[in-house]
């Protein structure tokens, strides 16, 4: 990605790889970083994802799991939070275990616009596509603002890495680090008419962030989570209702989408329907 230009349309550049796990590191509460060995490289834009499955899973669980890339290249990384069987197995994997990766998939973040001030809003594991973005911005000499929220100080994986490349405001619900409260408590103060917001985290957080940007008429992109079976437009399992009617498919038109295109439920204040 060249951060100052809009990314190209999604291409058929995805591949299916069988690669060994290189390293697994557990970070914080239930978070793990996995890196894989891809000698010929996995080129990726910030915001793109891979479908991940270990060849040892048998049928349990059956489907691969979508995971945002933390970085591409010859040792692509993902950050995962253990929530169910698939992430549990990933969080137990040992180096050398064979994984199948399909990717890079989906459309990453558009822009960022050269004339706007990027403001990254991350909740927990939503940090992955945003740290990737912040690093790309840093490599082109820009230093974004960031708000990073978690339940406790142990729910803020990679906050140090983020601080290296962004000016970070931390919030925790229990006040164990940064401001006690939620990302939206800080957001209003940091939003300016020049802001451009990029957000990833729990649905309700993203909806609230989008709401704030609508109120201030500032552009906002969200990275959506939808259930996915394939990841490349085949199963049609990942529709997101579109404001224009019909559906956007999160794996192809997203996961990074202009918040204004999404018919949020419950509707955000943009459509004044609350």
């Amino acid at each position: 990605m060249t951060p100052s230009h809009p990314p190209s349309a999604p291409s058929n550049q995805y591949r299916h790889l069988r690669v060994p796990l290189l390293r697994r590191e557990s970070v914080g509460n239930a978070y793990h970083v996995l890196s894989f060995e891809v000698p010929d490289g996995l080129p990726a834009d910030p915001g793109q994802f891979v479908m991940v499955r270990a060849t040892t899973w048998g049928n349990s669980p059956l489907l691969p799991r979508p995971m945002s890339l933390l970085t591409g290249g010859t040792t692509p990384e993902i950050l995962l939070k253990v929530v169910g069987e698939g992430t549990l197995r990933m969080g137990r994997a040992e180096p050398g275990e064979l994984f199948s990766l399909t990717g890079p998939l989906g459309r990453g973040w558009r822009g960022p616009h050269p004339a706007r001030q990027p403001l990254l809003v991350a909740g927990g594991v939503g940090i992955a596509p945003l740290l990737f973005l912040a690093r790309e911005l840093a490599s082109s000499g820009r230093r974004p603002l960031a708000i990073y929220g978690g339940r406790t100080s142990r729910d803020l994986p990679f906050s140090d890495d983020l601080e290296e490349v962004a000016e970070v405001h931390i919030t925790t619900e229990d006040g164990s680090r940064g401001l006690r409260g939620r990302v939206t408590d800080v957001l209003d103060d940091l939003l300016t008419p020049e802001s451009e917001v990029f957000t990833c985290g729990p649905d309700r957080m993203m909806a609230a962030v989008a709401d704030a940007t609508f109120a201030r008429d500032v552009p906002c992109q969200v990275s959506l989570e939808a259930p996915m079976a394939c990841g490349f437009g085949v199963c049609l399992g990942c529709p997101v209702p579109a404001v224009s009617g019909g559906y956007l498919y999160a794996c192809q038109e997203g996961p990074c989408l202009d918040a204004r295109r999404i018919a949020w439920y419950p509707p955000t204040s943009q459509r004044g329907a609350r």
């Binding site: 058929n12 550049q13 995805y14 591949r15 299916h16 499955r53 049928n59 349990s60 669980p61 059956l62 489907l63 691969p64 199948s100 399909t102 939808a226 259930p227 079976a229 394939c230 490349f232 437009g233 085949v234 199963c235 049609l236 399992g237 990942c238 529709p239 997101v240 209702p241 019909g246 559906y247």
Partner: protein
Amino acid sequence: MTHQAVRVGSLTLKNPVLTASGTFGYGLEFAPFFDIEDLGGICTKGLSLAPRPGNPPPRICETPAGMLNAIGLANVGVEAFCTEKLPLLRERGVTVIANIFASSIDDFVTLANRLDREPGIHAIELNVSCPNVKTGGIEFGRDPHLSGEVTAAVRAATRLPLWVKMSPEAADLAAVARACQDAGADALTAINTIRGMAIDPERMCVRLANRTGGLSGPAIRPIALRIVWDLVGLVDIPVIAIGGIATAADALQFLLAGAHAVQVGTASFSDPVAPLTVAQGIRAFCEHRGLSIDDLIGRARTSATS
């Protein structure tokens, strides 16, 4: 290298492995992974006359060794398929089976007519058994009389080989199968998904917006195998097997039961190269044993147990 081609009525497939409708898109999505023309054929996502947006989300959820889907037959419509997708498939030399569905016999006939004119279509698969659309074809597939009627009407509308996809929930499978054969079907394909449900106990509500969805994947394989075995004994036309096939060993079960070919479905999500791996595995099995595909078909029907 043993001969892997199989004949299904008048159509010869390069090998006995196809992809199942709705799990392989329009085929081209898998071109980055392998040469899709190396498969026996691909069945398209179900095509309707007009494009369809499909059901509201959530449309899918995972279950033990399976998944539920209630896509609602979202598709680009037959016209867009013929103009945008088919030429690229034809160029590659892919064997294309057009899966079609409609909610009236007239619409089925119009669809068949439209495809009949289109070079590059090798067969039509009639989906009379989708469990996810209220006005959809499932009514046809459960009723012997209606199944026969729609098959006969489409038969009259096209010279293309005609396959009819069986509902696993027909009250009288034998009657439906025979009605389709008598009405001129060239092959039966089975099975479509089985209606199922899931509830999220945490949120205490149903998981799919459509409430019910179709169960697919390895979980249903034993049921599919039993139905395919029964169908092979019921009709004289070839049976093409679908249901939970993920490996060559799985596919072999169905060939040994008497199926002439198999379709790989949900497995393409777990491993997008699965259809090719299955085809290669069957070839390896044949070479290792010195058997042809024809030697395999139905072989378990004659041998003793255990």
